[in-house]
Symmetry: C2
Subunit: 338 residues, 2 copies
Amino acid sequence: MTSPYGLHRVLDPAGVLPQQAHRLDATPVCGPDEVVVDVSRLNLDAASYRQLREQYGVDGVRRAVLDIVAARGKMQNPVTGSGGMLLGTVREVGPDSPLGLRVGDRIATLVSLTLTPLRLTDGLARWDGADEQVPCEGTAVLFGRSIAAVLPDDLPEQLALSVLDVCGAPALTDRVVRRRTAPSVLVLGGGGKSGSLSLAAARRAGASRLVALVPTEKEADAVRSAGLADSVVVADARDPLAVAAAVGTRVDVTVVCVDVPGCEHGAILATADGGTVVFFSMATSFPAAALGAEGLAADVEMLVGNGYVPGHAAFALDLLRAEPAVRALFEHRQTQQA
Amino acid sequence: MTSPYGLHRVLDPAGVLPQQAHRLDATPVCGPDEVVVDVSRLNLDAASYRQLREQYGVDGVRRAVLDIVAARGKMQNPVTGSGGMLLGTVREVGPDSPLGLRVGDRIATLVSLTLTPLRLTDGLARWDGADEQVPCEGTAVLFGRSIAAVLPDDLPEQLALSVLDVCGAPALTDRVVRRRTAPSVLVLGGGGKSGSLSLAAARRAGASRLVALVPTEKEADAVRSAGLADSVVVADARDPLAVAAAVGTRVDVTVVCVDVPGCEHGAILATADGGTVVFFSMATSFPAAALGAEGLAADVEMLVGNGYVPGHAAFALDLLRAEPAVRALFEHRQTQQA
């Protein structure tokens, strides 16, 4: 019997989830609720790629990835613990798969490579090791609870991928903003990928005053021209008092999309009592958020930004299609992190 | 003009919040919205005390604390960054203080020592350095946004303190459970201090099925005898599959009160789609929670347990008074962490 979490693919140690496993069974034989994918590209997590390159050099990084995948049956960097995502084409769909995929669909996985059974068959011959985009041949397996998005025909693949990479943020922003009546909303890092999508999502969800905070005047100009916010302010998101001063009247909802440590206190200070802070940045420190709110006697609800909200991929792609300004920002920033 | 956040007490560097400051002005002169307290005891944060004792030994720890407070104007361990809380008697109340304290009130501070201006005047002569309870003489300053609880007359001081130490958990549990109609609730670490209070709070807030998960049969017996939950199960909270198996049908609300790393995935797996997980443990990892939910395709709301909810101190003390079973558990566990 197969498990929707992929427990049946765990070889070592027995009885853990695939993400915690040392080794998975990556045999490309399709279980009843599984999907087998012909993989064409890996997008390694940036932190993982950087670590491998520092340890092995550009020339050694190909061997390192091959060794990891051969040993573990998945691409999970043993030092950083992180993975990435993959692109491929559906080869086979089990009769009980709930994912709604069809043979031949071009897909991107939205669950991490750290839990995806993977086999590489081309020795990564086409990858020069120079960046984290890894063209490859091989197979991967999706489980009943995996998440994959069918790549749209009408958008360039690289653009679609960069939207899918951050698609949890606009979906959760939509949900949080809709819970309130015309709330004021602040997005820290409003000029980035997840930030600009979150601004657009907040506007559509009924935000009244919409404030974007960005680090530079140049970025402020871009967000202003795009018309994504009612006001655009410039401040260092890591400086709580500067954030509070720049924002002025405290907002009902703050969305943190700045991927640097130390933005917790500014977000809390800028949020009114009874308000909500949503942290999307992986650089968020749990103790800094918890103790910061306590130290400031701030009665704010603080949410861990869950990267999964049902329908998040389609929601984010639709936002991009409907908002030329968001698309323009994405196309300008495709080489930058957000 | 004084700031409710204590900005006027920051000496170095200028323009940061007191918690981030290197040095505060601890002069015991009462500003218009301040309160000056005669301090009688410090409760050092356990991690801070341990670090100081390892670095300086039992004989050197007194000198180390005196040096830190003299240099910084607050008791913030420069290595761990943490502080603790203090006990004292209100000496003076500024005319504009919103805290509702009166001269002579015996109080405990519920904001961290890391942001509380402190001066020690007795050289810590009565402290032998053997544990984190530091009898002392000195003064502290509370700000407009500080939080302090008046110690109740009807409870032993040590018992009241151990309740106040975790009083954010039951208050937020109450709020989260009341949002739903008769939800099922799971408390990981239901036998501990914050856990037993959270169970009692969940029951009063209308929880239907109430499950406590504890690490040992001995602890399970104690919680069963206390009648705090409908069912008590034994499992290692760090083992996601063991947690899921022990809990059975997934619950609507999970409250994490286990202060060890690695409990995020079990909490997520045990929670139904559309449910809420509240993380109170300072050992919670933000990335583990965010990536875990994504990897499990779990549509759960995850809250950072804010230690501040208005009225939390009175709420927790009232729970203890009203629930003899909770009080009995506290009295039995007063030497243990929860």
